[in-house]
């Protein structure tokens, strides 16, 4: 099956127009070559041990021709964040729709455009970021992403500039007769002391079957500060493979919130390189899955120099026959003394059929470090349930309340109100007695 699928994507690649800049064609060619050699990952590979990608492989997703459709996307109203005064780029079925893009009053020197546009006009500025070697640990999906690289968002913030309005990148997938794949490459570049808030939302029409294959590359110079939110609300028949790859310079800070609610089969990767002293990464995550959903979160933080900090805090709620995977890797290299690394992952299993495979992986080669990790898997606390019921609260509401309270531990870490509220709504929407339980929240 894998050979046929590989052939399918090679064929798709062969049909790509060769309109890109020459250097990009080189990158694409190298990537498809690597893909040809490796094929799709199997569960024999450590990195994919608990996630079977065959449902993705067997579907032969098609790439879309850019700008194919001009009708106003029905999904837009449900997901736009225009009400909160943000810059917004909207991508539909794989390509950017400039008609729905709102970018106003950008600060001096800031660039925010779709990648397709940048590639069409002046791509020299972005070339160095693509030629950075990320060669090791490229998965088949990463290679496909590079091979089909054409669309996404490009943000450049010059030294000392703080972008006041949040930036919302909205990726929508509509119901289509044939299953489509959207390959996105977002490039975020923050100069020294630059600051920005970026929200990525991925959503799809209820019964749409499609694949989102997305990579966000972030480079933060000295003292840059990025708040990054990823709201994964794909259709329950949609597939999602996405990565955030961050490289943090001196005293640079990344606060990431990965919120994974939708999708039939989802893999979220975060890879943070702390390359200079004082760099700090905070990785918060929440995944909620029910039915037959499969959600896999892999995080990896590399502490490469002394005095860097990372804190991972992931929580998962799994119901029905859902399957969760959490793999939190922290590597403290030999020279990275005085590293402070914490990692925690707690899981709530609401049904006896739900499953989670959780594994912290600490690789510590330095001796003067502060590292801690903890993972838990549990059910709702019977004593708490009984306490609530003894106070006249019915069982269903009591369960919802405790589940919501568990998720709130992550949600409360979100200091950007629109995202927090949207998330609370979506989370509460998955539980019974939504209206009632919202009042209870401490």
């Amino acid at each position: 099956m894998s050979e046929a699928a590989v052939a399918h994507y090679l064929d798709q690649y062969a049909r790509l127009p060769q309109s890109a800049p020459v250097w990009l064609n080189g990158i694409r060619a190298a990537a498809i070559d690597q893909f040809r050699r490796t094929g799709f990952p199997s569960m024999r590979q450590e990195d994919w041990k608990y996630t079977d990608v065959r449902p993705i492989i067997k579907r032969n997703f098609l790439s879309v021709a850019a700008g194919a459709d001009a009708a106003r996307p029905e999904l837009l109203d449900g997901y736009t964040m225009q009400a909160w005064d943000c810059h917004e780029l909207v991508f539909v079925n794989g390509s950017c729709r400039s008609a729905y893009t709102h970018i106003r009053d950008l600060e001096q020197g800031v660039i925010l455009r779709s990648l397709a546009e940048v590639l069409r006009h002046d791509a020299t500025g972005i070339q160095p970021y693509f030629e950075q070697v990320h060669a090791k640990s490229q998965s088949a999906f990463d290679n496909l992403n590079s091979a089909f690289l054409a669309e996404g968002a490009y943000l450049y913030v010059p030294d000392g500039v703080c972008i006041e309005k949040p930036i919302h990148l909205l990726f929508l997938a509509e119901q289509r007769p044939e299953p489509l794949v959207g390959h996105f490459r977002n490039l975020l570049v923050l100069g020294k002391q630059a600051r920005a808030t970026v929200i990525e939302t991925y959503a799809g029409a209820d019964s749409a079957e499609y694949l989102t294959n997305t990579i966000t590359e972030y480079t933060g110079a000295a003292s840059a500060h990025l708040r990054h939110y990823k709201l994964q609300q794909e259709s329950l028949r949609g597939f999602h493979v996405g990565s955030l790859r961050a490289t943090l310079g001196r005293d640079s800070e990344l606060v990431s919130h990965s919120l994974s609610l939708g999708g039939a089969l989802v893999r979220n990767n975060i890879h943070a390189e702390l390359t200079e002293t004082g760099a700090a990464a905070t990785l918060n995550g929440l995944y909620i899955a029910g039915g037959k959903q499969h959600v896999d979160n892999h995080t990896c933080v590399e502490h490469r120099v002394p005095h860097t900090t990372s804190a991972g805090f992931y929580r998962g709620v799994l119901d029905g026959n859902a399957r969760g995977v959490f793999n939190g890797r922290v590597v403290v290299h030999a020279q990275a003394q005085k590293t402070d690394a914490q990692l925690s992952n707690a899981n709530l299993l609401l049904s006896s059929q739900a499953e989670i495979d959780t594994k912290p992986e600490l690789e510590i080669y330095a001796d003067d470090v502060k590292c801690s990790h903890g993972t838990t898997v549990g059910q709702l606390d019977e004593n708490m349930l009984f306490y609530l019921r003894s106070r006249a609260i019915d069982e269903k509401t009591a369960r919802s309340l405790l589940t919501f309270a568990f998720a709130e531990d992550v949600i409360n870490r979100i200091d950007f109100k629109p995202v927090r509220e949207r998330l609370e709504l979506s989370v509460a929407g998955k539980l019974p007695d939504t209206e009632l339980i919202r009042n209870f929240m401490a």
Binding site: E382, M384, S390, L401, F404, A405, N439, F440, M441, A442
Partner: protein, 251 residues
């Protein structure tokens, strides 16, 4: 009001209650005393509907209805309230909202209208004065980070708001300072009478100086082996439980 007849209860095949009899009429206050591990909290848990118990024999009726088949929330709505020996902390669930939801669930069950925010708050203010609970505890998560005494006070505060018909206080006096003890006593005494009844589980006759019970029962090894008036508590305090056990063994 409450009739416990020959109640046998086991946990994981271990027999805890072994033929317990107790009848509580409206308006009465009953104190239950007994050594550690004798089954007092088990009894309280069975009455409130905690899971994990197996009733192997006997019956419990409440207003003539089979109590044991009711869900815990229905018992609460029917007027049963348990003040826990160890109130659990519930992070993320707001104390005051829980109380409002509890009160309204009970009111609706009784065919009354729900209290709106204004009426509820004025009720809360009144009871706060009575129970002398620190107001900032209300806005916090249920019992989270409360001191031992604050947790107990919070239980009594809930009781004062919910005005149960049958209140079961499981060692609410343990770990309380003298002032708090009086507060608990005031809370209980203000509920006393009419068609309400109270069961006090305690180790110390000191509480009974403030809440004078109509009956005192001695529970040892899963059974009530002696009952009497207030003076029984004084005698227990002075002489311990051995003489009661011996007496029971002879009889």
């Amino acid at each position: 009001m409450l009739n416990i007849n020959n109640l046998h209860v086991s946990i994981d095949n271990k027999q805890i209650l072994k033929g317990l009899n107790l009848a509580v009429q409206a308006g009465e206050v009953h104190a239950i005393m007994g050594p550690n591990g004798s089954g007092k909290s088990t009894l309280a848990g069975v009455l409130a509907g905690r899971a994990g118990y197996t009733v192997t024999a006997g019956s419990v009726t409440y207003d003539g209805r089979d109590l044991l088949t009711m869900e815990p929330e229905i018992r609460a709505r029917e007027g049963i309230f348990l003040a826990f020996q160890y109130p659990v902390e519930i992070p993320g669930v707001n104390n005051i909202y829980l109380l409002k939801a509890a009160l309204n669930a009970i009111r609706v069950h009784r065919g009354l209208s729900e209290l709106d925010a204004v009426d509820f708050l004025s009720l809360v203010r009144n009871k706060l004065k009575l129970i002398k609970l620190k107001e900032d505890l209300l806005g916090r998560s249920v019992n989270e980070g409360f001191s031992g005494g604050e947790k107990k006070r919070n239980e009594i505060f809930q009781m004062a708001i919910l005005e149960p018909r049958l209140a079961i206080l499981d060692e609410t006096d343990s770990g309380l300072d003298i002032d708090a003890l009086k507060v608990v006593a005031d809370g209980v005494n203000s509920l006393r009478g009419g068609d309400r009844a109270i069961i006090l589980v305690t180790h110390y006759q000191r509480l009974l100086n403030y809440i004078v019970p109509d009956y005192v029962h001695v529970l040892t090894d899963g059974r009530i082996i002696k009952s009497g008036g207030r003076e029984l508590a004084l005698k227990l305090e002075e002489h311990g439980y051995d003489w009661v056990r011996e007496e029971a063994a002879v009889a």
